[in-house]
């Protein structure tokens, strides 16, 4: 069995967001780049499955759409434990474009399980995994918070309001995963970092394709009024303010 994990290169989640002078883009100077948090959890779970599979899972690949600047993030995925990597050498214009590129790049590879994070922490799209499944004509399950493999049978928990459903998909399939799929993201070991340099990272050129959406302008959020402090000796005042001033209770 082979697993593919799709990863996105995103600004660190603690980044303070600044805009460029024309407000047509985010100012990315000095930004630290990371593996999109949900993708990192997906990779962690894939590695756990491989280790528990007694050799049945033979390979974990990662794939990312991005220019050369994304390579440190891809190398980090290799250092965490992926066996090989593919980088599609283009900027991911939108999810439709990126999913099309990945579908084309892996269509002859016969992955049994494809894992994607449910959202990207930068532009907050939640489209990539579902689009990839549709381009590849594979079943997909989204909001996956637990993933078990027994023999050839996959069982996942899909979160629903107030609980979860256990879903059994036909393989191959795409799982779009969220919090809970792995306890904590794995950190690369020193040995992993050394080995990552030797692992194959294949660069493929993009295919001509359309993007269906594009960013044209950005703006910062509205500034927030100062916090009104309530005397801890008189918390009833808070109830009064919520009732009379904020009018929400």
């Amino acid at each position: 069995m082979k697993i593919l994990v799709c990863i996105s290169n995103v600004p660190d989640t603690t980044t303070k967001i600044k805009l460029n002078g024309e407000k047509t883009a985010i100012d990315l100077a000095g930004v630290q780049w990371i593996i999109n948090p949900w993708d990192e959890l997906a990779l962690t779970r894939a590695l756990e499955l491989k280790e528990a599979s007694a050799g049945k899972i033979t390979k974990i690949s990662v794939i990312s759409v991005g220019s050369q600047g994304a390579e440190p993030t891809i190398r980090k995925a290799l250092a965490i434990g992926a066996d090989d990597a593919i980088r599609i050498n283009t900027e991911p214009k939108d999810a439709y474009f990126a999913a099309f590129q990945v579908a084309e790049a892996v269509k002859t590879e016969a992955y049994d399980i494809i894992l994607c994070g449910i959202e990207s922490s930068d532009y907050n799209g939640s489209a990539f995994g579902g689009m990839l499944a549709e381009f590849m004509d594979l079943p997909s399950v989204s909001s996956v918070s637990s993933f078990e493999l027994t023999g050839d049978v996959v069982k996942v928990n899909r979160e629903i309001p107030g609980g979860y459903e256990v879903v059994e998909p036909q393989l191959p399939f795409v799982a779009v995963v969220q919090k809970g799929i792995a306890k904590e993201p794995r950190i690369p070991s020193m040995r992993g970092i050394m080995m990552a340099r030797q692992k194959p990272l294949k660069v493929v050129e993009a295919i001509m394709a359309d993007a269906l959406t594009g960013f044209v302008a950005f703006e910062p959020p509205q500034p927030k009024a100062a916090c009104k402090m309530v005397d801890p000796a008189n918390v009833a005042e808070l109830v009064d303010l919520l009732h009379k001033e904020a009018k929400i209770i």
Partner: protein
């Protein structure tokens, strides 16, 4: 030309988020000078379907097929795409729920329709079709332009609100052609707590962080939530420690929430936490550290130990509830 609104039901009933989605779609239809058509799939009573007219839907397509009792992303997307084609819809509206995240991307590829998630308001322009959306979980907003004939919008919860606009919605049976072979996922069991307020539906949320000090200390927090009819939530360290389930984690990598009132107890307010709660209408912060970043995001603050403040808040809210 028309606007098609996909309306989710939960065991046959609509929720506020469904009505918000219809309200939003109906307003776009008015701006475009066209009609708003709701699509409902599954077993929903006619009386319930009719209520979609209260929010501006002039027609309800009802696709009632027993095979659609459980979500299968591919089968659902096939049916929705057929409805879009049948009605010649050029704008499709969905909620921001997990179902939209599961299904909308597949519809997008089927129809070669641009798709934007986390839409935060009405279109800025109809030509070229441009919508505002949240990026970086509300740390910034962006305008996105569509380059496709059909546009799919998934709206951020509580970004528009429920708006009544009475229409007498005609109910029309709709029969999508979906082969049995399209269903490639099977639901084998369901675990669901009943009677609990669902975090993403809640109007009020009481949340605890590391400042709560131990899982046993959640009792007063749960009591306060009970008085306010609130859901309980927690910060990431709390769910990582296993004090509370992952499903309660709010923040950037957990749930993104938008209640009317968010009460944060012993939460310092890391930037990732604020990203998940900043869409709340009113934020109350209780923290012993007056420098805690949560106070920069809060509307009202109390400096003090949540363990001491919570019992007093319980008394104060209980008194208020008995008088109002």
């Amino acid at each position: 030309m028309s606007v098609l609104i996909y309306t989710e039901n939960f065991d046959g009933k609509f929720k506020k988020s469904t009505f918000e989605t219809v309200s939003y779609g109906a307003e776009i239809a008015r701006q475009m000078g066209t009609t708003a058509i709701a699509l409902s799939m599954g077993n929903v009573a006619d009386d319930d379907l009719k209520t979609l007219g209260n929010y501006g839907a002039s027609k309800v397509l009802h696709f009632n097929d027993a095979r659609f009792a459980n979500l299968d992303n591919s089968a659902f997307a096939t049916a929705i795409a057929q409805a879009v084609e049948k009605e010649g819809a050029n704008v499709v509206i969905m909620s921001g729920s997990n179902i939209a995240k599961a299904v909308a991307p597949r519809v997008s590829v089927k129809l070669k329709a641009g798709l934007v998630f986390a839409v935060s308001g009405l279109p800025k322009k109809l030509s070229p079709f441009t919508v505002p959306k949240k990026v970086f979980h509300g740390k910034a907003f962006a305008d996105v332009v569509f380059n496709s004939a059909i546009k799919i919008l998934s709206i951020a919860q509580n970004s528009f609100g429920v708006k009544e606009h009475l229409q007498n919605a005609a109910i029309e049976a709709f029969d999508a052609k979906v082969d049995d072979s399209a269903f490639k996922t099977k639901v084998t069991s369901v675990e669901k707590s009943t009677g609990k307020i669902i975090l993403t539906d809640a109007e009020v949320i009481v949340s605890g962080g590391r400042g709560m000090k131990s899982p046993e200390n959640w009792k007063p927090l749960e009591e306060l939530a009970g008085i306010l009819g609130a859901a309980t939530a927690c910060s990431r360290p709390v769910s990582d420690e296993g004090w509370r389930p992952h499903s309660e984690h709010v923040g950037q990598t957990g749930k993104i929430i938008a209640p009317n009132l968010y009460i944060a107890c012993g939460i310092s307010g890391a930037i990732q936490h604020l990203a998940g709660v900043s869409s709340s209408k009113v934020i109350v912060a209780i923290n012993s550290d007056k420098e805690a970043p949560i106070f920069s995001a809060a509307d009202y603050g109390i400096i003090g130990d949540a363990q001491k403040i919570l019992p007093e808040l319980i008394t104060a809210f209980r008194k208020f509830k008995s008088e109002n």
